[in-house]
């Protein structure tokens, strides 16, 4: 608890710089990642993240010191080379995109590991801390590093701000962007460069191996909460910053812990919660929506059955036990009682001891379903020339989803017909009068 208070009071200047650095890094990679996600190239980010490793190693070998600017330059070159190699392999061989990504990713990474171990064994004292590139160490962000990486993060944010409209367009419809005369090739180049830049800065916080999570996961989580790109970017940056804060805290409390994995675990939890519980898109919401649609259909079928039985016996308000309903039509017995209870609660049915009867409102709903069913049967047989015994199944489905507008159009087209193809009366209500 004391740790928590000490951390969040931000009185330690070291804490401030680490938090600031981590926030900038995670948020800026989340922003750029949003576009790679939208272009369905999330794994390209993964490949770039692995591919910068040999560049970092080579830059160190060449300069002999751990200079952030040199490393950014080196990482940039190898990240670029990787993207170019992937494009070339896909364009000039029969190898498909996913294999090309996996191939370039693993080979660059292998070369990087070879270089890194070579450097470690070469006995250069300045190499200590180079392995923090593999798993990240937010606490290592101090002094000059912080300024350099902070500046890079700002460049990223400004560039995305300036080219927001163009990036949005190529993310959703590259062909359209091209017909508008946008330089799509150069924009793609810019976006790839920004991705490389984001990777180079982000690996300071989470390391090479988990960098792809910082590009993909915040964007994937944000996608579940909104359909607007602006909001999605802000949310992704927020999620990224939240996980960065958590990582900085871990790095403060337990310096022996690798920071990167904690950042990734936090952002993954956010993403998985979003997949499940986000309104509109989440798994729970989808399930609930499917269930309620299923309920609606079952209830409507019951009201229809009551209406048809009433029609046959010329007594719409007769009360009927569940067995009678089951004899008329095969309903799933398990959900029958539940559906009847819901109908009573909605005021469409009235329960009398062990039997049920339609209320006036329920009669109206049942009549409306039967009307749509028979109208559709007539439409199919009249306009699509289907035999009368072939139209029932289709009408069974459409009766639940026919909109009032379509129904009005059908009525107008067929001029308020009286009978369906089976010579059953199409039941009109009060409001269905012909103008």
């Amino acid at each position: 608890m004391d740790n928590l208070r000490a951390f969040f009071s931000f009185s330690d200047p070291n804490v401030v710089s680490v938090v600031l650095g981590t926030l900038l890094l995670t948020a800026s990679s989340a922003v750029v990642g949003t576009f790679t996600f939208l272009r369905k190239k999330a794994l390209l980010g993964d490949a770039i993240a692995h591919a910068v490793l040999p560049g970092v190693g080579a830059a160190f070998l060449w300069s002999g010191v751990k200079d952030p600017l040199m490393m950014i330059a080196g990482a940039f070159v190898s990240g670029w080379l990787a993207v170019w190699a992937m494009d070339q392999i896909v364009a000039h061989s029969k190898i498909k995109e996913d294999t090309a990504i996996a191939l370039v990713l693993s080979v660059f990474f292998g070369v990087g590991i070879l270089l890194l171990t070579y450097i470690q064994h070469s006995g250069n004292a300045a190499q200590t801390g180079l392995e923090s590139f593999l798993f990240g160490k937010a606490a290592a962000l101090v002094g000059r590093d912080l300024w350099v990486f902070g500046a890079v993060a700002l460049v990223l944010l400004v560039a995305v701000g300036l080219f927001f409209k163009e990036f949005q367009l190529i993310a959703f419809d590259e062909a359209y962007a091209r017909t508008l005369g946008l330089p799509v090739g150069r924009l793609n180049l810019l976006l790839t460069s920004l991705t490389v830049l984001a990777v180079v800065t982000g690996i300071q916080a989470v390391g090479v191996v988990l960098m792809s999570a910082m590009l993909i996961t915040p964007a994937a989580a944000a996608r579940y909460w909104t359909d607007r790109v602006q909001q999605m970017i802000l949310l992704a940056a927020g999620f990224g910053a939240l996980s960065g804060l958590a990582g900085a805290y871990v790095s403060y409390v337990a310096p022996a812990m690798p920071t990167g994995p904690w950042i990734v675990v936090v952002i993954s939890v956010v993403a998985i919660l979003s997949f499940f519980f986000a309104p509109g898109r989440g798994i729970v919401y989808r399930y609930w929506q499917q269930e309620s649609l299923r309920h609606d259909i079952l209830e409507e079928n019951m009201l229809k059955a009551f209406y048809q039985m009433g029609e046959q016996e010329e007594d719409f308000f007769a009360s009927r036990p569940a067995e009678e309903l089951l004899a008329w039509r095969k309903f799933p017995p398990a959900s029958l009682k539940d559906a009847l209870r819901r109908l009573v609660r909605k005021g469409d049915m009235v329960r009398k001891n062990d039997a049920w009867q339609l209320s006036p409102a329920g009669l109206e709903r049942g009549r409306s379903i039967v009307k749509k069913h028979r109208l559709w049967e007539l439409y199919l047989s009249r306009y699509l020339q289907l035999a009368p015994d072939h139209v029932h199944d289709d009408a069974e489905t459409i009766e639940h989803i026919l909109t009032p507008e379509l129904e009005a159009e059908l009525l107008r087209m067929m001029d308020y017909p009286d009978l369906d193809p089976h010579d059953a009366v199409i039941p009109y209500g009060e409001k269905d009068k012909k103008e």
Partner: protein, 292 residues
């Protein structure tokens, strides 16, 4: 060449053949990145199995790895189908999360288990000749890892030979496979189970991450050269051997990671074959010109 070098090259070759045989099917199914994901995601399974058994060569590794591999495959499908997440993002989110959990577990239990981040990354193939199997009378039979690699290769060859028809048909024509009574889902999970099992068995030697390269690069090089699956599998074996031998030599020369060097050589072989092919292809195009 010393006996140690022979042991190391032989072990690496056997592991890379195992990986390559399975990788060929992943490549043809366009699931190369799923293989990548599984190779990362088995890490928590390895650590948990390690914690339970306290050893690296125990039978616990098999269920530990297989369950994580199947879980990864399931989660990717689940996020894609039920939550409507695009496949590339589903792969990316799943494997990074599981890998991160694995690294955290390693850090938390660092005192209790003989596993560290470096070992996960690079493997310890250089130490293969040091850990040997001995008979009761103290006679040295050979390195343990070599026998593990051999056993693994036998299992994988059996899997590919016995399931050849099912794998072939479900890879190239899932609809026909289903019509002729082959369960596409079952064979998919079997293949993923085999991949995760192989990854775990090989991770000791080559590192969990570099297994990815062995899964993809030799089969991709072979794929450039042939249209026949059988020939592709044969060429994969050849490239697996060449990469391992050349990688060992390179690693010794540079005093670097052997696994990293093997991958570097595998990549070099790919570039060599590909560029040669590009250069050779220019000519026939010109020769055809007068006819058209």
């Amino acid at each position: 060449m010393t006996m140690d070098a022979v042991y190391i090259i032989l072990t690496a070759t056997l592991f890379s053949i195992s990986c390559g045989l399975l990788g060929a099917f992943l490549l043809l199914r366009r699931m190369a990145m799923v293989g990548d994901a599984i190779a990362h995601a088995v890490l928590p399974g390895i650590v948990i199995a390690f914690l339970i058994s306290g050893s690296r060569e125990s039978v616990w590794m098999i269920p530990g790895a297989a369950s994580l591999g199947v879980l990864t495959t399931f989660l990717i499908e689940f996020f894609h189908r039920r939550a409507g997440l695009q496949t590339d993002a589903a792969i990316g989110v799943t494997f990074t999360a599981l890998f991160a959990v694995g690294i955290i577990l390693i850090s938390v239990f660092a005192g209790q288990i003989d596993l560290d981040q470096d070992c996960v990354l690079y493997g310890e193939i250089a130490y293969v000749p040091l850990d040997v199997w001995m008979t009761a009378s103290g006679e040295v039979i050979g390195p343990k890892a070599l026998f593990i690699a051999l056993g693994l290769l036998v299992l994988n060859v059996l899997f590919v030979v016995l399931g050849y028809r099912q794998l072939l048909v479900s890879t190239f024509d899932p609809a026909f496979a289903a019509a002729s009574g082959i369960s596409v889902v079952l064979w998919n999970y079997l293949l993923m189970g085999a991949v995760s099992f192989t990854t775990v068995a090989a991770f000791n030697s080559v590192g969990a991450i570099l297994v990815v390269a062995l899964l993809v690069v030799p089969p991709a090089t072979a794929y450039l050269l042939t249209h026949s699956l059988k020939r592709m599998l044969g060429l994969t074996v050849l490239f697996a051997f060449l990469s391992s031998a050349c990688g060992y030599v390179l690693a010794v020369a540079l005093d670097g990671s052997i696994a990293g060097a093997i991958v570097t050589c595998a990549g070099g072989l790919f570039v060599l074959v590909w560029v040669t092919q590009l250069l050779l292809r220019r000519k026939p195009a010109k020769e055809l010109h007068p006819l058209t």
